[in-house]
């Protein structure tokens, strides 16, 4: 048994998501460091069709990694650099490439928090569908590379259920890349009922389609980011744009940076404009809502009316034409819920529907919680949704749950200590962190 946690040394909590890496002290209400999970890099591959900039400033990592240079954090991918590629280690919610994980976590803890990880126990969160190999690799990185004195890995599905005060809950988590439904029963994930899909990606793809497709009242919208614009003049809504692009940068921009930057423009637009109709799709209802004015970095601006609701509708309903044209279409929210409940025992369904927990940044779509509630009560009249009104609780529910858990003095019994790691090796992770 180790004596960390408690009052003397506060533990650290790290939550690695598709959009951001959240790190902070256990017991805090918000993460101290929130950095993008996307990172910029210069490739070392001599065959790569990129220019090698700043090769003289290689950091320590570079000698053994595939990166000549990494650009991480708030000044990472968002600053345009000649030949800089952009990548993300997370695929479908899971860490797919561990090579940038150490630099990302190191940046969040050492540079942003100015804290030495070797002095603090660390709690890391994992998605419900994480693999045993992945969690063991995470333990290895923490113990062997960060030299942490103690480690624990906690499931975000259970953390979100607990943070809502529920041992038994139906956790609907909508993130940046994945939407998942996790039945939690008496504090444990009911594996057979776990379902997930890359639905948020489809929603973004639909938003892109709407923006770049011309309509009778406007032409297709260029998703050129701020970094590529030299100057612009203000124009009236729907008028042709007057801007000068940074022609010098265009040929030196990588495809990965460009697509990252375009996705960001789409995200910004979604956050400002997109919404869901709470009562299901209805042309008249969509048209009667007030349109929203939005200006793109090019200076182009227009009012979005019905289109903003078409985007959110993708979470709940897919047209038969879309389904027919794409057999691998990600399952929408009602389909995920139906599939999950089908796998659960009949008497459990009522209990789960009475304890729905809505979490994740993607669920903050305007109207999402109301729509979900309406969809559920149609089939389950007693359905009750717990959706934290506090945006921090909703967006960083997993981190916050881990923060409260790791701050409890009694939690020290559950940490895997460095000594235990050295004695038992990887197998201790699965035994201890259930």
């Amino acid at each position: 048994m180790v004596n960390y946690g408690g009052d003397e040394v506060s533990a650290l909590v790290v939550d690695i998501g598709t959009s951001s890496v959240r790190a902070g002290y256990a017991g805090d209400d918000t993460p101290r460091a929130i950095i993008p999970t996307h990172y910029g890099y210069m490739s070392t591959n001599p065959d790569a069709d990129v220019l090698m900039g700043d090769t003289g400033e290689n950091n320590a990592e570079s000698s053994k990694s595939k990166f000549a240079k990494l650009y991480i954090g708030q000044s990472g991918p968002s600053i345009w650099r000649e030949g800089m590629e952009v990548a993300n280690p997370i695929v479908d919610g899971l860490i797919n490439d561990f090579s940038p994980i150490k630099p990302l976590v190191d940046h969040a803890i050492s540079d942003v928090m100015r804290c030495n990880p070797a002095e603090h126990p660390i709690l890391v969160t994992e998605p419900t569908w994480n693999t045993p190999a992945n969690r063991e690799r995470m333990a290895e990185i923490m113990f062997e590379e960060f030299q942490v004195p103690a480690f624990y890995i906690a499931n975000t599905g259970v953390l979100n259920a607990f943070a809502a005060g529920k041992g038994t809950a139906f956790v609907v988590d909508v993130g940046q890349a994945m939407a998942s439904v996790t039945p939690v029963v008496d504090g444990f994930v009911l594996r057979k009922g776990l379902v997930y899909s890359s639905l948020p990606k489809l929603v973004r793809a639909h938003a892109r389609h709407i923006l770049v497709t011309p309509t009778p009242s406007r032409s297709g919208i260029a998703l050129l980011p701020q970094q590529m614009i030299e100057s612009k003049n203000a124009v009236e809504p729907n008028m042709p744009v007057q801007f000068t692009a940074r022609q010098d940068r265009i040929p030196k921009t990588t495809e990965t940076w460009q697509s990252w930057a375009e996705e960001r423009e789409i995200d910004e637009w979604i956050q400002h404009c997109a919404a869901v109709l709470d009562q299901g799709w209805n042309d008249a209802a969509a048209q009667s809502r007030p349109p929203k004015l939005y200006e793109f970095p090019t200076g182009f601006n227009t009012y979005f009316g019905m289109e903003r609701y078409q985007v959110g509708e993708q979470f709940f309903w897919h047209s038969p034409a879309l389904v027919a044209s794409n057999p691998n279409l990600p399952k929408n929210i009602p389909a995920l819920i139906t599939e999950s409940l089908r796998a659960c025992d009949a008497e459990l369904r009522q209990v789960l529907m009475g304890n729905v927990v809505l979490t994740g940044g993607g669920s903050q779509f305007a109207g999402f919680a109301d729509r979900l509630s309406n969809e559920l009560t149609r089939t389950f009249p007693h359905a009750k949704i717990h959706a934290p009104g506090n945006p921090i609780e909703r967006r960083y529910g997993g981190w916050l749950g881990g923060s409260i858990l790791a701050s409890l003095g009694t939690f020290h019994q559950l940490w895997i200590s460095k000594e235990e790691w050295q004695e038992h090796g990887k197998s201790i992770v699965g035994q201890r962190c259930k």
Binding site: A163, G165, G167, K384, L408, G409
Partner: protein, 142 residues
């Protein structure tokens, strides 16, 4: 995943008094101030309770608790039955910290209370209404 909070021996004793001694109708449990143990909430547990509804009124509006109630009812085929009901009370208005603390300690308490027949997870008074608990008791499942 658990909080590491333990159940005090006094809590187990109080539970045995209900289960075997039939001396009390109910007990309310809470986590102690230093967040290390689950103890009997003395402020709520000593009162004389005649009706189930009076017991429900004891549950605080903004704080989580656990409660065990010796629930008596007429079985459908006739005859009186008694079942021990565990209520996991976490109102929506409780803060996120108490919610996490109580939900994360549920399992430890359940393991210590042998013989609970019905479990109710509730966030408001409607979910612990007499009819709801009666239906669950008759079902014999949670």
């Amino acid at each position: 995943m658990a909080t590491g909070v333990r159940v005090s021996s006094e809590s187990i004793e109080a539970y045995q008094n209900i289960k075997l001694g039939k001396k009390q109708k109910y007990i309310v449990f809470c986590v102690n101030d230093s967040k290390t143990e689950i103890i009997v909430d003395k402020a709520l547990s000593g009162k004389q309770i005649e009706k189930y509804n009076d017991f429900v009124d004891l549950l605080p509006q903004k704080e989580p608790r656990w409660a065990v109630y010796d629930f008596q009812f007429e079985a459908d085929g006739g005859g009186q039955r008694n079942k021990l009901v565990l209520i996991k009370w976490v109102p929506d208005d409780a803060g996120i910290r108490p919610k996490m603390l109580y939900a994360g300690s549920n399992d430890e308490l359940r393991k210590s209370l042998d013989g609970i027949a019905v479990e109710v997870q509730a966030t408001d008074y409607d979910e612990v209404a007499y009819e709801i608990v009666l239906a669950k008791a008759k079902q014999g499942t949670r």
